[in-house]
Structures are given as structure tokens and as C-alpha cells.
Amino acid sequence: MTPLIECTDVTKKFGDFTALSRLNLTVPQGVVYGYLGPNGAGKSTTIRMLMGLSRPTSGQVRVLGQDPTDPEVRRRIGYLPGELRLDERLTIGQTLASWGRLRGLTDTAYRDELVQRFGIDPSRRVRGLSTGNRRKVGLVGAFMAKPELLILDEPTNGLDPLMQQVFLATVEEARDNGQSVLLSSHILSEVERVADLVAVLQGGRLAASGPTQELRRRASQRFHITFAEGEDVPLAALAGLEGASDVERRSPEGQVVSLAWAGSPDALLKFLAGRRITTLTAPEPDLEEAFLEYYQRDVPGSRDAEAEEPSAAAGPVR
């Protein structure tokens, strides 16, 4: 089966600035794909090429097996731009009707259902709508034609938590319906629930990609350890362990230590076996943490940048 989206060695330069460097990305059918990265990582640059709005400097972009600059391909895609500019003069209803005419949409039942679901009043003027409400209009526009592929750039931007849930449910419904969704975000927790696959983009390069579960497994795990009353808190020793980082005491003289741990917890448990501890907890790792790891690689003075020096491998001890 042809992948819905296939980017091969895609590079995009703006003058001297390389916004995207040799990106390889494959989005198969029937999945929700999380496209993640901090602002400026190149997410929108990628998405605009997927919509045929710009062309790669080198490499190839294929959407539904075709060049997306062909308008007929775009009939099968629903798009929500990251920077959504609506016509201020129209009402919401007129805006949706205009998009419908441009798309040749005849069946408006699903559109009306979405309007209800997102709690939009079609008679309101676009002028005066909040960012979140504009976003909802854009989302209805993207979903209303039930396209095979949805490309949504920062869809939850400005949505309140309730609407985020409505949005995620709509995404899940689309996937169950056989549609595929690519959604970009700089906030992981928003995407984590629905995304089957994720790619993490950083500084124009793909930092990681794969099934969400797997990325989460690769993420460093945080442990909270409470040492028994009277037991010395071996901060330095913990920090010296291979795999430990970000070791910190919860309160200045407290017995609770929190640390991040990469890899198998075997060595940590063996170390702790020689001490008296009262609790050891390990919350479910979230992608936010995995994500932060990727971010920090490029940040000067961060934990991983310091890791070049062997002695600092354990990170700062507080």
C-alpha cells in the first residue's frame, strides 16, 4: 500500500538558513501521526510542503502518491494552517459555506454535526472571535469533507481543555473511519493520547521517530526514593551512578530524592538494596520527558551537552 505521506531526503533552505535537513518521513494509512518539536523546528515548513504551498530545495515530497502541488491531490486532504487567517467580513456560516463551494462539498450533514460538537454559532461574525474559536472553525473546515488525510498544524492551539477532548475524540473517530491524521504540536501530552506513531523534529532534523509506546519506553524514567529516617541520603553516590541524571533532593534536609534514570533500572535497584528506604515510586514516563531529552541535546550548558566530559555525566547535583 502506498504510504499517505512520503518525504525522501527533503531539504528546505531559506537563503542561508536550512529549515529542514534531509528529512525522511513515512506516514502509513489509517494512523494518527504526531509530528512533534519545539517552535521553529521545521514542523510548519514540512507541512506547507505537504500542502503544495512550497517546494523542497532538494528531495521529494509525495502525498497520496502524488505531487501535492497538483490541486486534485488536495481534494483528498483537509488542512488546518498553523497561522489561520480567516476573512473578517464573513460569518462563520458563510466561511464554511465558501470552503464547501471551493471543495465541491454537497453533503453538509457531517459539517453541521461538527459545528454542534465544537459548540460554534454559525451566525457569529469571524471578526471578534477568539483564537480558540477561530481554530474551531478551521477544524470544522478540515474535517467536514471527511478527507482521506488530515494535516493539522498545531490544532489544539488556543483550545480550552474541554474542546481539546472534543478534538481528540474527533481525531479518533476519523481514524476509526479509515482516515489518517498528521498532527503537529509542541506540546506532547496533547498528542500522546491519540498518536499511534510520532516523529520528533528538532532544529530541522528528525531526532526520533517510531511507535509512541516505544518512544515512551526509550524515555528516561523518573524515580522518587524516600530514604528511611536516620538513613544518610547518598546524593553524590546516586549521582555517580551510570544512568542517573538530574538527581535532586525534594527539600533541603528531606529524605526524598528524585532522579531521572536511563536504561535498565538494575544498577539502581542493586545500589538501593544496601540502604533502608521506605518508598520507591516510578510514575509512568510521559513523552514530555522523552521530548525534553531531545530538546536539551542542543541547548548549550544542558545536561547532555555537558555529558561530553565524563565526570559530569551524572548531571547537576542539587
Binding site: 510548519s44 506547507r48 500542502m51 503544495g52 504551498l53 512550497s54 517546494r55 502541488t69 490541486p71 486534485e72 488536495r74 481534494r75 486532504i77 488542512y79 494552517p81 497561522e83 489561520l84 487567517r85 476573512d87 467580513r89 465558501s98 470552503w99 463551494r101 471551493l102 471543495r103 465541491g104 478551521g138 473546515g141
Partner: protein, 268 residues
């Protein structure tokens, strides 16, 4: 016209509706007040005095050489400078706003991601500007012609129609210049600057070059010369000039369209 194109056209006209009404009203008002002043001007000898202190060359440059005749009066006060300049500016600003301006503001982002060819979006928007120019020209023509008839001025209806046509085409050409600049990706600001520059330089060549024998041939490269050089108000439609305006407009619009299809859409 297929349905998406007519939708884009409708929306384009709707977007420029207010500016279009304002321009049309202003130009109609201008035309009516110019023509409306004729009866009192005709009675006094003010016009003779007005042009008598000026050398014939200068008078020709400002189009006021036959200002005491009815058609000379219309030419000097309306068709030689004011109307083509204002209609040209209307063309340039409307085109820059509707193409480059909307693109840079991100208002085309969603439209261009819909199943509509990019060239269709840009061409139809150019068509919206042309439509606005045609509408304004017709309104100005009707008000001038109506006044001419009611004041029983010695001006031929055919002449008014001819000069309306050439002035309108001159404006379309400058809209085309702005369109092409946007098409090649230089954006709204440069489009305004270049097209307004062509308009003004074209006027200067047309008005001033004939005053010097060595510069005179330069007047022939001015679109103003093609449109107004043969005095269409008196002599009817200059078909050669009209053909030149139409062909050149079509060529630069085609070039701009070719370019816009092959470049990136600007990011808001």
C-alpha cells in the same frame, strides 16, 4: 466559469467592495464636478487667460493646449492627467492588496491549500481588479456622457467612449505590472512601488519628452502615449495603441502567472 472560480471571483469582489465603492464615488464626483464647471467656464474667458501665459509646448504637456474648446477642456481637466493617474493608482493598489497583500497576511494560505490551482486563484483575483476598473470606468463614462449631453457640449459621444476605453486599458496594464511583480515573489510593497513608478515615469515621458527634439522618440515607449497620444477624445479609438496595451497586459499577466505557479507561497 466553473464553480470554484466563480466562488473566488465573488469573494474577491466582496473583499474589495468598500474600496471599489469609494474609488468609484470619488472618480464619478471628480468627473461630474469637472464637467459641471464647464458652463460657467465657457461663459467667462477664464480658460483663455489660463492657458495664454504658458508656452504652447508646456500647454501641450499638461494637455491644456485646447482648453477653451469643450473637448479640450475635458481633456485638460480630466483625461490628460487626473483620471488616468487616479484610475492607475486604483488599479495598482487594488491588485497589490488582493494578491500580494492577502498572501503576505496569510489570507491565501487556506485558499491555496484547497483543491484549486494556484494560478486560478491569482488570475481570478486579477480579474476581480479588472472588473472593478471596468465598473468604475463605465460609471465615469456615463456621468461624463450624461453631463455632456445635458450641457450640450461640443464633444462626441464616441470620443468619450474611446478615451474611457484607453484610460481603462492603461489602468489594467498597470494592474498587470503590480500582478507580475507579486507573481515573481517580490511582494506587495515592491509591487506598489514598481507599478506606481511605471505609471509616473510613463506620464513624464509622455508629457515632457515631446518638448525636446532629442527626447521625443522616448515618448513612444510610454504606455500613456499609446493610450492618449493620438487624442482619442477627438480622434476616436487608437487601435494600434489599444492592441499594444492589450497584448502587453496579457503578456505580463501570463508571465506573472507562470512565475506564481512555480514559487513558494509566502508565509504569514
Amino acid at each position: 466559469m466553473s464553480s470554484p472560480s466563480s466562488e473566488i471571483f465573488r469573494r474577491g469582489v466582496q473583499i474589495q467592495k468598500r474600496t471599489l465603492i469609494a474609488w468609484s464615488a470619488a472618480l464619478v464626483l471628480l468627473a461630474i464636478s469637472v464637467v459641471g464647471a464647464w458652463p460657467s467656464m465657457e461663459e467667462s474667458d477664464a480658460l483663455e487667460d489660463f492657458s495664454s501665459g504658458i508656452s504652447p509646448e508646456m500647454a501641450a504637456a499638461f494637455g491644456i493646449d485646447q482648453i477653451s474648446s469643450a473637448s479640450g477642456y475635458l481633456k485638460g481637466n480630466l483625461y490628460a492627467v487626473l483620471l488616468p493617474l487616479l484610475l492607475g493608482l486604483m488599479a495598482v493598489t487594488a491588485t497589490a492588496a488582493l494578491t500580494g497583500g492577502d498572501e503576505e497576511a496569510g489570507r491565501l494560505e487556506l485558499l491555496l491549500a484547497l483543491p484549486v490551482a494556484r494560478r486560478t486563484v491569482f488570475l481570478v483575483r486579477f480579474l476581480c481588479v479588472t472588473f472593478g476598473l471596468a465598473l468604475t470606468s463605465i460609471l465615469v463614462w456615463l456621468s461624463v456622457y450624461g453631463s455632456v449631453v445635458s450641457f450640450d457640449m461640443d464633444v462626441s459621444g464616441g470620443g468619450v467612449a474611446a478615451v474611457t476605453l484607453t484610460v481603462g486599458l492603461l489602468a489594467v496594464l498597470h494592474a498587470g505590472v503590480a500582478y507580475a511583480v507579486v507573481g515573481f515573489g517580490f511582494g506587495r510593497g515592491p509591487a506598489l512601488g514598481v507599478a506606481a513608478g511605471v505609471l509616473v515615469v510613463g506620464y513624464l515621458l509622455h508629457a515632457i519628452a515631446p518638448m525636446s527634439d532629442s527626447l521625443e522618440p522616448l515618448a513612444n515607449i510610454s504606455p500613456w502615449e499609446w493610450a492618449l497620444g493620438s487624442d482619442p477624445l477627438l480622434n476616436g479609438v487608437p487601435w494600434g495603441g489599444v492592441a499594444l496595451l492589450v497584448v502587453l497586459s496579457a503578456a505580463i499577466v501570463a508571465a506573472g502567472t507562470y512565475a506564481v505557479d512555480r514559487r513558494d507561497v509566502k508565509n504569514a
